[in-house]
């Protein structure tokens, strides 16, 4: 796929007789990483297309979300467009501490992660999205394996999130069952949604699921960092995690050499911002309507020239 781009780009370059673009510092390709969720790939492609317009050469490299830091440290990889405060903070801090990786600032998107329920559950459990109302009808969510407790489908254990601790601290009648991947998570949601069956599970935004399915995030007591660290803070005086999950920015990171080798590109990467709503609608087009990522990105580029042209000037 990657090289089809190179080819089409080559034809384009030949047509425009390459001198049409400003001189760039280096023609070596800038390697942007892509991961396994659509929103990230869309953002990365937008960044890549913008950099191409500025005359840089781009290569998209598929890499694991956490494992990529090893490559960013050595300069094998150059730019990662989405590091979530909620899931990638530790790895990012460890990498930036070495001095070989730099945080290039916020991407403009905010990561939201929380318990979520489909809207048809509001009839069964009046008082939602309040968490106490959810707890009052916990038995509605029970399955043979978890009865009499309700079943809450949590994210993969690697996502953290302290759901087991939260259930304990808030005295909720739920059992946390961890899905192995997000694909399994959404498979269960799809299945329950088709049958209008009770379900409460971990969802996150920006993602196509909150767009496709009608529903809301559960409202827990507001998050504060003290609530996580200090047991005495919050509803339960003797336990931490008696509140909701934090929301946080999604960061961009880069190999520290990018700013030396391609200063113009580094500035453009730093200037890149996009909103949750924009990404959400682009992702929905790709994942729900089946439009290809390239087409969606091209459409966005055409409609938002005023926005991205400021990034590369």
């Amino acid at each position: 796929m990657k090289s089809t781009y190179t080819i089409s780009a080559a034809i384009l370059a030949a047509v425009c007789a390459s001198s049409a673009y400003a001189e760039v510092e280096s023609l070596d390709p800038i390697k942007l990483t892509t991961h396994d969720w659509t929103g990230q790939i869309v953002n990365t492609f937008i960044m890549g297309e913008v950099l191409k317009k500025a005359g840089y050469n781009i290569e998209y490299v598929q890499a694991d979300y956490i494992a990529q830091f090893a490559g960013l440290k050595t300069g094998d990889l150059h730019v990662a467009m989405e590091i979530w405060e909620t899931t990638g903070r530790e790895a990012m801090d460890e990498a930036t501490a070495t001095g070989n990786v730099v945080n290039v600032g916020e991407s403009g998107m905010m990561a939201v992660e929380e318990w979520w329920y489909p809207s048809y559950m509001e009839e069964v459990c009046p008082g939602l999205p309040n968490w106490e109302a959810l707890n009052d009808c916990a038995q509605e969510f029970a399955t043979p394996e978890t009865a009499p407790l309700g079943r809450y489908l949590g994210g993969p254990v690697t996502w953290g999130g302290f759901d087991d601790e939260r259930v304990e601290a808030l005295g909720m009648d739920f059992e946390v069952v961890h899905a192995g991947t997000d694909a399994a998570l959404f498979a269960e949601l799809e299945s329950a949604y088709q049958r209008k069956a009770p379900i409460v599970l971990w969802l996150y935004d920006p993602h196509w699921a909150p767009t496709k399915y009608e529903g809301s995030f559960v409202e827990f007591p507001a998050y504060s960092s003290e609530c996580y660290s200090d047991p005495s803070v919050g509803i339960n005086p003797s336990a931490a995690y008696d509140c909701g999950k934090p929301t946080g920015p999604i960061w961009k990171v880069a190999w520290s050499g990018v700013a030396d080798k391609w200063p113009g590109a580094a500035a453009a990467i730093e200037a890149f911002t996009i909103s949750n709503a924009d990404v959400g609608s682009l992702v929905a087009k790709v994942d729900l309507e089946g439009v290809s990522i390239e087409d969606v990105v091209a459409e966005w580029m055409a409609a938002n020239e005023a926005t991205w042209s400021t990034w590369i000037n």
């Binding site: 090289s3 050469n57 494992a67 830091f69 490559g71 094998d76 394996e145 069952v177 299945s191």
Partner: protein, 667 residues
Amino acid sequence: MKFLARHILKGSRPFWLCLFGVTWVLSTYSFPLYKALDARWIIKFPKAWELQLDGWISAVMKWLVEDASFGLFSFRDLTRFISSLIEAPYQVVRSGLIDGFSTGQGQQAVEIAPSLSWIAIITILAALAFYAKDWVLAALVGGCFVYLAIFGQWESAMVTLASVIIAVPLGVVGGLLLGILAYLSPLAERMMRPVLDLMQTVPVFAYLVPILFLFGFGPVSALVATVIYAMPPMVRVSTVALQGVPTEIEEAGRMMGCSRRQMMWKVLVPSAMPTLMVGVNQVIMLSLNMVIIASMIGAGGLGYDVLTALRRLDIGGGIEAGLAIVALAIALDRLSQAFSTRTQDALPEPGLSYVKRHPWLVSVVLIMLGTGLAGLYLPAIQSYPESATLTTSAFWSDAMEWININFFDTFEAIKTFFLTYLLLPVKRFFSGVPWAWGIIAIGLAAWRVGGWKLGAMAALMALAIAASGLWAKAMITIYLCGVSVFLASVIGIPLGIWAGQNSRANSVIGAFIDTLQTLPSFVYLIPVVMLFRVGDFSAMIAVVLYALAPAVRYAAHGIREIEPEMIEAGKVSGCTKNQLLWRIKLPLATPSLLLGLNQTIMLALSMLVITALVGTRDLGQEVYIALTKANTGQGIIAGLAVAFIAITADRIVSAMARASRERLGLK
């Protein structure tokens, strides 16, 4: 199963009953015992005694990646050099199949030549199939590739094909050389055997992270992982094949005055060729098995399509891409098998012109050039037009929704039944076993079956698992695999017996299990989760489906291999059909059934990592967590624990098979 147990355990029933009884009592009462004696060490391996091996491994890895040096160049330079050696041919093949050739980079690139057109590639493969066998095979292979084009999988399939074209020769040549080494030197063979065991049983996820560090991000790392995974059978098959060459042929070679090199390459290897081709076939199949995992670290291709389709719950898209992998596997498998049985053509008459002597080669080249040139003007000839592709995606999604809405309750009832009466009791039994007794029990069982050496090895391996703090997860692993292997045998052995006695059943069942084995399990994992929710039951279904194949194959093989005289003898003695089956065929097929059991266990264990994607709490999950956290040490330790379980099971079952063969007076 009962007759099997009776047959194997003949004469030693009190021992096994005793062992089971003690284990059961300890497992049931371990918790009260710990409370009564206030001795927590009974149920949990003391933290203070745990070996911190994972930290050391991570540290060694870090040193290897960052500091290790041979003076002039570092270890990393070496691996990166190897990486570039692999990458160069890969890029050439990929350019030829799909990308086209160009110079310069990025936007300055200029295309020199297009890739082969889709028509040319189909023609080449069909011609190869005709050359290897006949028109039927050519039609089958051509048909498989036409499927890829029509269902819009062409581009991805060519990327996957490119990696197979590079990985298979590497695996075959490497495997052959190592196999020859093992054949020539018994010492090398002894040293290689445990390494091969580990290569086959350590889950791939466990070594993906170090490979990424050493070989860089991208398709090369995926290729390296594929080769590591696919090579071991080739090594084993090579050794066996060479040992199987009749001594007469060797003698003849010696009489001709062959040098050692001529002896190996002109006499032994060609004579072993048919068996060697079995190994080649295995390498191809295993390489295609790796497609999904390889795509997780940048191989792209069909595996990537399966993953992305299922992540957005496009079940139909996942099935189509998955079936494309099956089509590719079938085409390559049948092609390689045809080559292994091909008979030499008569030499063409020398007087003819080049064109007349090589009509096929010439016409294929003409089609390549012709379509290449025509493709410059007509894009549909160069690449299959997107508007003419078909998709059945909507059909599958609708079908799934219909099943889900109408039959969910039925499935739920079935699931609850299995959970209550099979899964949960077994789980309770295994997780209750105190680690100290567990080590002793496995040691005793292995000793009883295979002598004190085996017993000591099994106990040591169990101790290593406990000492790594993985006892609880290992027990969950054994429970999940045990239940799955049991069910796979219960379903698979009767199917195999049926297939062994009835050739029509055989062809249907054969096609079915071939598909099950090459269809990436991720394809059916997501629908299974939709119907059965996240949990052990979904994981078990996936494992059973995948591990079914060897149970069926070996049972069918065992039945077919029985000498007809034995059955005749039975008939003459007036056996009924039932008696014939239970008293004669099954006991005689036992060694084969045990081999099948062995392979079923191996496949079940190798599925662990995939079931971690559903959400289990076993060693597979431990390996997967290590992967997502890029923790080399943790991954390798958990991977070794899986390997230890696999090796222990393998040795015990093999010892049983040996004993049963001796008892039956077979060779």
